[in-house]
Structure formats: C-alpha cells, structure tokens
Symmetry: C2
Subunit: 148 residues, 2 copies
Amino acid sequence: MADRASELHTTVAKRLGRLDQRYTRNRRALVDVLRAAAGPLTIDDILGRDDDLALSSAYRNLAVLAEVGVVHRVSTGDDHTRYELAEMLTGHHHHHLVCDSCGSVSDFTLTEELEQVLQQALDRVAAGADFRTDHHRLDLVGTCDACR
Amino acid sequence: MADRASELHTTVAKRLGRLDQRYTRNRRALVDVLRAAAGPLTIDDILGRDDDLALSSAYRNLAVLAEVGVVHRVSTGDDHTRYELAEMLTGHHHHHLVCDSCGSVSDFTLTEELEQVLQQALDRVAAGADFRTDHHRLDLVGTCDACR
DNA sequence: ATTTATGCAAATCGTTTGCAAACCT
DNA sequence: AGGTTTGCAAACGATTTGCATAAAT
C-alpha cells in the first residue's frame, strides 16, 4: 500500500518533470486525495478532504496534472466537473454510474471481452469518420441505490 | 418531409399539453432548428440559426422541452451544453464523436447487434449495483477530421 | 538568486432569474 | 380578464486570472 503510493508518486514526478513541472506538496496532496477516492471527485469533495488545499491552487494544479496526463477530467452533466487519476496510472479501465438525482458518480467495469468487442467496433467507426480517437466514454445515467 | 415535420410537431404538442404547457412559436422554432441539425447544438448555434430567438427564452424553453422529454441535454466536457431532440422522438439511438480540439460533436451509430449485447451487459451491471438506468451514453473523444 | 507555486480577491462567462410588457385562450 | 410567455437587464456560481508573497531548486 505504501509501496503502491510511493510508486505512484514516482511516476507522477517523472511525468511532471518531463514538462518541467515541480511535484509540490499541494500536487502530492491532490494525488493522494484522488488515489483514496472510490470515484471521480468534485472540487468541493477534494477541498473537503484536505483542509490545506486552496481553491484556486487546486484548480491550477489539477489543470497541470491533467496536462501531463496524471489526472482526468470527468464531465457528468451537472455543473461541478469531477477529477480522477488517469487510467494510465491506475491501470484500471472503467466506466461511470451517474446519478441524475444526487449527482454521485461511481465506477464499474465491463468484461475484458466485451470491452474488446466494443473497442473494435469503435475503431471501425472512427476510421470511417477520419476521427482520431483518444479514448471512449461509456456511462450509465439514472438513479442510484440511495436515491430510488 | 413536411409530413414528418408536422408529425413531430403534433407529438411535441401532445407532450407539452400533458404537462399543461403551450406550444408557442418560439418552442416550435427551437424544435425546427434542432430537427435540422446534424448533431447536438450549443445555445450559440441555436441562436445563430434563428434571429428571432432570445437567449433567456431559449434557455427557458429548452428547459421546458427537456422536462417533457422532447429535448435532451448533452454535456461534452467543454463548457457550452448542447441540445438535441430526444431519441424517443427521432427514433434514432445514436452516440457522439466529440472533438477535443474544436468542440464539434457529430452522431454515429453502432450495429443493432452490438447495441443489444452492450445493453444486456449494462443491465447486468445496473442490477448488481441497485441502479435504475435511464439511459446510457457512449462517446468517442478525440480529434475530428477537420482538426487533425 | 531566480524561477515557479501559492492564495487571496477580483474578473469571467455560461446560465438563471426578476420583472414589466406582450401574448394566448 | 387571467394566466403564461417573452426579453431585457441584473444576479448567480463555477472556474479562471492578476498580483504580491512564499516556496522550491
């Protein structure tokens, strides 16, 4: 656990360094908060989990972390953009259950097999439209357990 | 074509009436603009296609139309929410190609077969999470033909 | 020592809302 | 007439930015 965390920090530091960015205490704190989360978090979620984080710096650092590919922005439809660690770092391709009622978001996965079939179909679509795909996004939108 | 348009207007009128809402000229104009579009439109897109539409009324009417299930909000990640006719009205289940670079959004479809396999898998996920699904959302995010 | 990050306060911008006039039935 | 919709202008709220200070290398 400590091992994984320090490995993660090493990777993040490397990625930041590649773009001449420093791995400061605040940035480390953001990564720690996101790492501990069960799904993508809003800014308020994030600030609520570490009292030392300032709003504007959090936004700025999340932007930097997103730019170097460490953090991924998640737009669900309500205001409040959410943030999660990039799949490249977690090694965990996943999707989201988005609750229309309370706005909560949690993760789920499909079988590797279905994911591959899907990927092939999407590759075909992209090729046909001369579209260069960065990633796909698959969400379920509805009402969560707590809200029904 | 005129037939389809008037059929559409009839359906919309019915749905509005069900919630004691009137089908005014502005609302008709919005439906016409969305009907003619090749993908979901931003407010600016919409206002640009009909000079008589006022900003605040457009927002309000889109909200009403969304509430009665005629219009669907599409959040792509940049600011600028987009709007499209609900699939229930177009009878055309589709997905989106989202360009990270210029923000454009266009539609695509999967085969009926894959769509069904996917639906089954998603139903299983939802059942396992006690999640009541309203709809799913599958997008390709990347760079469009014009931007590459 | 020099460059970069921080955090407060102010600015920005998409969207929403108050309200008086115009509209529909 | 009675209630709804409209559209301007003002308000709102999430996010961004200016700037002087603190931190990192």
